[in-house]
Symmetry: C2
């Protein structure tokens, strides 16, 4: 069963984040990750959605998702 990670992040330092991003995809795809959506200005239908970037990622299963997440820590 696929597992999804919805992340709402706030980027304070764009330069530092760019360094993180440079190596991101290699590790992410190695864990079976697929980016469904990366949006810095999603349409907010209700309530508040305060963050710089919204990311939606799909993994083959929950184990793969957590294995990626923990590899980043």
């Amino acid at each position: 069963m696929p597992a999804y990670i919805a992340a709402r992040i706030s980027i304070a330092d764009r330069n530092a984040y760019a360094e993180y991003e440079a190596g991101f995809m290699e590790i992410f795809t190695a864990h079976g990750g697929k980016l469904l959506s990366v949006d810095e200005a999603p349409t907010v239908l209700e309530g508040e959605w305060t963050c710089t970037r919204t990311i939606l990622a799909e993994f083959p299963d929950k184990e793969a998702a957590l294995s990626w997440y923990n590899s980043e820590a």
Copy 2:
């Protein structure tokens, strides 16, 4: 391009919500909606995620997503 709706809802009245749910899928699928995930206890990796139910839906495009959303209003 597929569009995604991530919804975090709090269900106060389960009976009233069940009535809403009964007609949900018919309208939802008519707008091309696909439920990727419905989770009442998602794994929270960081921060707070306070809600009763988390829903992740995919639509063929943003127009279809908004057309569904507005039909529900």
